[in-house]
Symmetry: C3
Subunit: 362 residues, 3 copies
């Protein structure tokens, strides 16, 4: 079987292919698919480079870097889409990332891990704290939708102001949660961090210097931007040709691409019976989307004049609530087995079916 790193190296070939395709005016669908494939390894290298630099600059600045740049791919991709006015796709990507992390990533980890080990255990305290923080974030993200859905008509200006205010509260809470995990209650997170460092150490036997990783980070960041432009530019033509709605693309397709690296990590460590780390990658990643990426996009949109409110499709509200509820119900006892993983996967499949058949265009 090919290792994770070999697969990523092979996928890199799609970077030049997609750029060539765009210059030669190939069909939008081809450019779209090759750009998607090209982003997967770039996202992985970006995460690796960030982590390598973080280790060198020390736990405080490093932790902050990790927390801020950990979702850089999603942020860049969403920013480009936002600039081009694909506001509904961006919103769908946010809900899709939350659902994907909680159901697809955690489900795959528990299922594959559970096939190898009869029962797997993880520390439920941090999982629960993360879950509570995520509950807050989900509630916050979805309240503007609820205001809209339960009233006879709120002006767009009001929704926009409410969304910015909510975003500000979320970024404030995100800052506090970093303070909590890196200053006042670090001991609760020891397992997770130790696990991540151990994993990194295992993967790279000899660490290159910081200037090497900074260079890599720079190059990869530029490549991701470039590829995001190609992807967004071909988005409309491709989804139309493939017969997909913008909602389905945003909720299901894009998040799988943006989070492929995290998926691989979570499953790999689950297969090594480190469920603590696996669950914390899945829950922590969806928490970062909700507490950091989404509010930053709202404020960015406000600044660049593409006002993105937090008024989601009510069905997205239902889907996120369902995902959070099931993930809580399955992870709250600190044990997992293959059936629990399969339940999460089945929920994901059913939600994907529902999004596929949902008639709204976003």
């Amino acid at each position: 079987m090919l290792s994770k790193n070999t697969i990523f190296a092979i996928l890199l070939i799609f970077v030049p292919i997609s750029i060539a395709g765009s210059l030669l005016h190939w069909s939008g669908t081809v450019v779209f698919i090759t750009a998607c494939l090209a982003i997967i390894p770039l996202a992985a290298y970006m995460g690796e480079a960030t982590e390598a630099i973080a280790v060198v600059v020390g736990p405080n600045i490093g932790g902050l870097m990790n927390a801020t740049f950990g979702n850089a791919t999603e942020l860049i991709l969403a920013y480009v889409a936002l600039r081009e006015g694909f506001i509904d796709v961006v919103k769908a990507t946010i809900t899709g990332s939350i659902i994907g992390n909680l159901l697809l990533v955690m489900g795959l980890s528990m299922f594959l891990g559970g096939l190898r080990f009869k029962e797997q255990e993880f520390q439920p305290i941090t999982a629960r704290l993360n879950a509570s923080a995520m509950n807050l974030a989900v509630v916050a993200l979805l309240l503007p939708t609820a205001v809209q859905f339960t009233s006879t008509g709120v002006g767009e200006a009001v929704l926009q102001r409410l969304s910015v205010a909510v975003a500000a509260v979320l970024i404030f809470v995100y800052g506090l949660s970093l303070l909590f995990s890196m200053k006042t209650h670090t001991y609760l997170y020891d397992v997770g961090v130790a696990g991540i460092e151990e994993e990194s150490a295992r993967e790279s036997t000899a660490k290159p210097k910081i200037w090497f990783w900074s260079l890599i980070l720079l190059i990869v960041t530029i490549a991701v931007a470039v590829e995001s432009e190609l992807l967004v530019a071909s988005l409309e033509e491709a989804t139309e040709q493939l017969g997909l709605t913008a909602l389905f693309t945003g909720v299901i397709l894009l998040p799988i691409i943006g989070n492929a690296a995290e998926h691989a990590t979570a499953v790999t460590v689950a297969l090594k019976n480190k469920m603590d780390l696996s669950v914390s990658v899945a829950v922590g990643s969806s928490m970062q989307i909700a507490l950091f990426v989404a509010p930053v996009l709202v404020i960015m949109g406000y600044i660049i004049g593409q006002p993105m409110d937090l008024n989601f499709n009510p069905f997205e509200l239902v889907a996120v609530a369902v995902a959070v509820w099931l993930a809580n119900s399955i992870s709250s006892d600190g044990r997992s087995n293959w059936l629990e993983g399969m339940l999460l996967l089945a929920t994901y499949a059913i939600l994907a079916l529902a999004f596929f058949f949902h008639p709204l265009t976003a």
Copy 2:
């Protein structure tokens, strides 16, 4: 006090009465009520016969039989109603069975058990796993409703296709859950199975042979079909005369009749302080409805040309969500007392009131 078996034997007299009533063209209400009363003991005998045969044929085929035929009464009754086009009644019966098992059966067990014992304990691991499986099933059953409710109009054909796809996923998960409980993780279910066998052993001192039970099963199955026909044929006239809506009949009345035997078992074992078994009958039964009976009916309906989608009345969605939420909240700590039982019963009473006053006809 009369024993359970005596009561069932007495109720058998309503089998000939209801048939006679139908042949003599008595009032629909009388036929309806006598058919209802006749089905109660038949369902009990069907369960007993299935279990007796299951013990003889061994744990594997036996477990499968139990899991498949355990809800045969509900299936037959629902099939007949479906064939006659009472689709809304069938859908209401599904939600009603889930609500009834979680609130009425579990509530009565905890309340009556709690009056005799100050505090009762049960193993929360299997309860939680069942609860998670049921959460998935409930989510799956209700998603088509959410799709319909949150969009401006989904074609009936789309809803039907979505419903069949969801049903297929659910039956697949049901199969996996049988594999889990009967092959890979049997040890988690030891208490429950041992309890059921012990109960059976206690009730029947000398076990008759398998041909005897097969004959009983055959006769009882035919009788249930016959009585279901009578019940469904008189349904419309009876509910009209009694001033009940089809929604109330489907959600409250029919599930009580179809599940009377399980109710009796759950309460009986609760009074013997075997809460493990009692909770697992209640939760397991609602899980079977959601993961097996409902999807089979969707697919059956599709085959016999009475297409039953999973688009429920939104209020049924609220009611099921409420029932699952409260049952989880009360059972998750593995202890119960009379007040907790009463809380479940009060919720059931309030839901019944709401369904009674709900103006929709289904």
Copy 3:
């Protein structure tokens, strides 16, 4: 820093000021604000007097008194508002009290307590039982709304009948829960009661006689009625001048005033690391609102001819569900820290923002 008692004594000066303001026809806003400030110490003295008498008359009648008169301020205020026809404000006050106790009071306690102690623990059994009872109550209160929202039109008479029936079930359950905590399962509540008595003992070195407290209770009750009249009479003018909607006033402002004394108690004991007592004050208080105050108001309204149904604004339904969900998720593990407190406070802030921007007038 001024002690709680000194602050209350100072606030008493607003009793004569508000009365004078009303007689001299000052602006409605001034009368409203001074009446609000006057009610805060009155509510505190009412609670203290009730408790002092309860200690003298013994645990049974005393407990009943505490449970019945503990929310006397809210009841009087709501009764006056109901009589004057401010039905939507009264309903908003009910949801606001529940949200405020679960998010603001519990949040402040956990946050401030968490700043002083790294981790605080509390007994989760009673917390969970209270939470289950509250879940039932919340479900019951919100079902009529759900019936209305999911149907094409229910007559006002039907909603009113459903509401009265639901209220009767809730008062019945409230009676049973008193029986449970004061008769059959007192031992579960020992910590809490002991804590309250200890607190009371610490605060007052020499206890005055019962006639003294009865006199105080009488005077304070009259003063609260009087001040409630002033507050309600100036409500409309004041909210208009301040630019607030009736919904915001009812959900956010009034509950903070009515519950100020409980807020102070919960925070004070949290700072003494008695989280058991702190959490039980917050959860218990919202439980009393839902199981006792709200149904009594429904029945009172029915009697005085100002029929108050339980058909809330659907957004209130969302807000209460969110508050209960988050409070459960944070309190269910029996531990707290400052971040968890901050999560509850942030949720409260976001809900307050949403109510502020919500366009419905109630």
